[in-house]
């Protein structure tokens, strides 16, 4: 089996006395879409920027496509595409000029026009970047990251500030990348985005990963299943890791009393509930 596209173990990054990343470990398989989900300031961007080669780690190990990203090798950069959170363009270059120029730095780039069409900017190919709308500029970000036909794409909050249409385009692009067999590491603070796009999600909080797995399986120990029903006009809720046993007892008791459990529901917590619970733990 091919080695993972990204391998991170016990990654740490301190800024003076502040430890922004506190022992993060995860790996991303080739062809996988991996999401780092967490609020602003959780350490997602610091982690990604270490992997992109922008920052040096304080300690721990990081391998990207088999190389140490801190070495800044050109061979690695040729295989990686980066969408930064905020990066500008030459204001007086057109979309096509900007994409073509960047393409020249890669050994085997995509066709610039095709890349521009892929991100939905074909109609603006001859527009100068300072005349693009915010959403169009984010599409140009994507085009610039993809024109080198990278194996691995970093997307740091790729849809923050997107209008819904641009967001849909970005999501489609990520899905296209997956179909093409590319590896994607994306950070987001949008739950629905992680749920919609990522094969696996790591929830990051205060510089640490607090939960990790496929979005549908992410269940912190405290939440488990939720069983609820109505009794005497109010909603009764139980949480359990073993719903079979709980249901058996609840329904057995109700039947023994000759009652029915009204509006009985058994639910897995949604990722949103898991996420909010994880984020709230400090306050509890």
């Amino acid at each position: 089996m091919a080695s993972p596209a990204i391998e991170v173990s016990d990654l740490r990054k301190s800024y003076g006395p502040v430890e922004a990343v506190r022992g993060v470990s995860f790996s991303v398989q080739r062809g996988e879409v991996f999401g780092l989900l967490g609020p602003n300031g959780a350490g997602k961007t610091t982690t990604v920027e270490i992997l992109e080669g922008y920052r040096r780690r304080s300690s721990g190990e990081a391998r990207v496509l088999g190389s140490d990203p801190a070495a800044g090798e050109r061979q690695l950069k040729q295989r990686v595409g980066i969408v930064l959170q905020a990066a500008g363009f030459y204001p007086r270059l057109t979309v096509h000029e900007a994409v073509s120029h960047v393409a020249k730095a890669y050994p085997d780039p995509r066709d610039p026009s095709e890349t521009i069409s892929m991100v939905g900017l074909a109609d603006s190919a001859d527009t100068r970047s300072n005349r693009l709308s915010g959403g169009q500029q984010r599409r140009l970000d994507l085009a610039l990251a993809l024109v080198g036909d990278p194996e691995l794409v970093f997307l740091d909050e790729p849809t923050t500030g997107f209008d819904p249409a641009a967001r849909r385009v970005a999501w489609d692009v990520v899905r296209t990348l997956r179909e093409l067999g590319k590896t994607v590491l994306l950070t987001t603070h949008y739950l629905d985005e992680a749920q919609a796009l990522a094969d696996r999600v790591a929830i990051v909080k205060n510089g640490e990963i607090v939960a990790e797995g496929p979005p549908e399986s992410l269940t912190p120990a405290s939440a488990g299943y939720r069983v609820s029903y109505e009794a005497q006009g109010r909603r009764v809720e139980h949480q359990t890791d073993d719903p079979t046993d709980l249901l058996h007892r609840l329904t057995g008791d109700a039947l023994a009393r000759g009652e029915r459990l009204q509006s009985l529901e058994v639910a897995r917590p949604t990722l949103e509930e898991v996420y909010l619970e994880l984020m709230d733990e400090d306050e509890r």
């Binding site: 080669g53 040729q78 930064l84 363009f89 030459y90 007086r92 730095a105 890669y106």
Partner: protein
């Protein structure tokens, strides 16, 4: 593409960007020429003063096209995140800088030639008597002012304040360095200041090349001052470099 070919591509892009940016083209290209025409009209046909003015404006052009342009451009590129984006691509840093600096060097040499041509064709100043000295001093000035401009960009906090930082240096240096009149007519303190700054020595070297025919060997002291600034500028330019 090879690093050299990428440098050439970057150079071509920089040329395109330069001519598409009216304010950059004006401040680094047109302003020295406007000053030349204005001051020359004040001097009338006074050949002696024109022979100070033409090399003076040539030296000023070298400073404007490199020092001012580097400080403005790099502050802008850093603030916009263009440098950061660039660092994430396989474009080698050396190729990028070669193209970026090469464009400024081209501006400086073209501008010196334009000033020399105007001087000869309009004001009857001779063609340069020592072309080698002209190239050597222009080249040394480009390296010194280019690297000092890069170094200055490191301390400029944002693009809005770039004009203040640049002009706080550019304007006083211009006035003490014998661009419009001989620096010997300055008060002694200002003349002493001019002696340690690079622009006066660049202007003197260009004056030798254009007017008196004094070659490189006649202005070695001045060349050494420019070279010292170039060395200091290069160290500061590299040491403080920030991508974002």
């Amino acid at each position: 593409m090879s690093p050299a070919a990428l440098a050439w591509q970057q150079f071509r892009l920089e040329r395109k960007l330069f001519w598409r940016s009216p304010s950059a083209a004006f401040f680094s290209f047109a302003l020295p020429l406007v000053l030349l025409l204005l001051v020359a009209s004040v001097y009338g046909g006074d050949a002696e003063r024109l022979e100070i003015l033409i090399p003076g404006i040539a030296g000023l052009s070298v400073m404007a096209t490199t020092f001012n342009a580097m400080a403005f451009n790099l502050t802008f590129l850093r603030e916009q995140g263009i440098l950061k984006r660039l660092k994430g691509t396989p474009m080698p840093t050396t190729s990028y800088l070669a193209g970026f600096l090469g464009s400024a060097v081209a501006n400086a040499f073209v501008q010196v030639l334009v000033v020399v041509a105007i001087g000869h064709l309009i004001y009857d100043v001779s063609w340069p008597r020592d072309w080698i000295a002209l190239v050597v001093f222009t080249g040394a000035g480009v390296v010194a002012f280019g690297s000092l401009g890069i170094a200055l960009s490191h301390v400029i906090p944002n693009f809005d304040s770039a004009a203040a930082y640049v002009n706080a240096i550019f304007l006083p240096v211009m006035f003490v360095s014998g661009v419009f009149y001989s620096s010997e007519s300055l008060p002694p303190a200002l003349e002493a200041a001019a002696e340690v700054l690079p622009l006066k020595h660049l202007v003197d070297g260009l004056g030798g090349a254009i007017v008196t025919g004094a070659g490189v060997q006649d202005n070695l002291g001045g060349l050494a001052v420019v070279a010292l600034w170039a060395g200091a500028g290069a160290v500061l330019a590299v040491r403080g470099f920030r991508w974002e």
